[in-house]
Symmetry: C2
DNA sequence: CGCTTACTTGAGTCTGGTCAAACGGGGTGG
DNA sequence: CCACCCCGTTTGACCAGACTCAAGTAAGCG
């Protein structure tokens, strides 16, 4: 819940960024890369469980996840927690804190994470001098909105089983496109409590639901890890078409 | 469900826009207004119940609501409907259709609506020549995200009563800041089915829940209309702080 | 070895869902 | 003018999915 991370100078130059080599990310122009490189003020490395951004704060930074897993969530005053979405490499976080006065959600690391740090003060300069990048940022915000719409549909209209199937297919699908499959089979480093807090279900009922998915050979579960065994089965069960992941920008 | 609307030339010049006079909207520079005026390609007037944008389409337009009420929603193939958010004057809609390949949700009018029409093809020009406006568009997208986060928390973690209270307070609060209170007391032109589809509840249970809110004198209800009678009571019941509505751009 | 974290499982309860029916007002065709 | 219908709302009876409470297991760690 607490814990910090280590700031460090730039270790990786943006031009060398390994993430950028992936096919999902659109190729950037030379001058765009140069600007981003200047825009980048450092790297932040955080431990599993560390809080990267906190609700209510007015963060001076904007981050792009480079590696690892995290999640965005909100808390109610009485402690109820709702996980809003998961953070994976290539995702931009903290935009709200930069644009509006303060963050309206928190972000926590699910695994060790490496983040690229940008100064919010330079954001407007980006808008002024690099319309293409500005457009990209809007595009990323719009994509986040799309994911939230999808999650909202799920919470509102799917049954527990459908929701669980949807969620796991959703996370696994995203993870795959950004190469979060270090282990084989690729595993999602998550706790049943996280799933419960995402689906809007109790821990106990989540457990029973996941158990059924395991029995149907759709997924497998081991402590703090979930792996997809039958993606199509999950999609069918959730009555979901899957996300159309298109080429996208990496700021 | 079907129905069209009438396109019309510009009736109102952006400089004369009555919405813009409201205190919630930040004052624009002369040149910004001039650009927006050129960017605006017309007005669209739609009837109650008309579909403004449809999921899966690749719209050539982008709209700003000028007057009236609407809502964004998604459908599952088997007909389940989830309302994602409500559209009120000043809201920008159709951005997804402009940035991404296609809309991932539909928009329907709850009342007659007047919309300002922009050409998606000119959007990039806006980014190129008016970084301030580009920034504003991102800001609006970010605000939408904030509202979705809030709705997600509600669906996931609030009880039926809390959800209903939250929703009505949320809508009424937003409506007030943009002056959607033609009638007195201001009424939300909505059906219990809409509420149910927003809250993720059945129609029957929604009815019973609303009935309780009426009995507690928190709201009043008449056919197709809901009015807040005790805003603080609703906020307390929902354990919600309300939205901090700050000055915002109107594109 | 004892403690903690994460996952399991069972029993009983309750919130919210489904089914069915009815009401009231507005509109329409006869 | 009246009968009829439709839409939105209301209510009751019954059912089930999800919640809470309570325990227990298994793995990891100091």
């Amino acid at each position: 819940m607490t814990t910090a991370g280590t700031h460090a100078g730039k270790r990786i130059a943006c031009t060398q960024c390994p993430l950028r080599k992936r096919a999902v990310f659109r190729p950037f122009e030379q001058d765009e890369l140069a600007f981003i490189s200047r825009f980048k003020s450092g790297e932040l490395s955080v431990d599993q469980g560390a809080t990267v951004l906190v609700e209510g704060s007015h963060s001076a930074h904007l981050y792009t996840a480079l590696s690892g897993w995290g999640f965005r969530y909100k808390l109610m005053t009485d402690g109820r927690r709702q996980i809003l979405n998961y953070v994976m490499p290539g995702d931009l976080i903290g935009l709200q804190g930069s644009l509006m006065d303060e963050m309206s959600h928190s972000v926590e690391a699910l695994s060790p994470m490496l983040l690229c740090v940008f100064e919010r003060d330079h954001l407007f300069e980006l808008y002024r001098n690099h319309p293409g990048l500005a457009y990209d940022i809007t595009w990323l915000a719009s994509r986040e909105e799309q994911m939230l719409d999808e999650n909202l549909l799920s919470l509102g209209r799917r049954t527990a089983m459908e929701r669980a199937a949807y969620l796991i297919a959703f996370i696994a699908g995203r993870a795959e496109t950004v190469g979060l499959n270090d282990s084989n089979p690729p595993e999602i480093p998550i706790t049943q409590q996280h799933i419960a807090d995402t689906l809007g279900l109790s821990l106990v009922h989540t457990n029973k639901t996941l158990r059924k998915l395991v029995q149907r050979h759709l997924i497998s579960w081991r402590e703090r890890g979930c792996a997809v065994r039958d993606m199509q089965g999950l999609l069918d069960l959730a009555r979901w078409e899957g996300m159309k992941e298109t080429v996208r920008p990496l700021v």
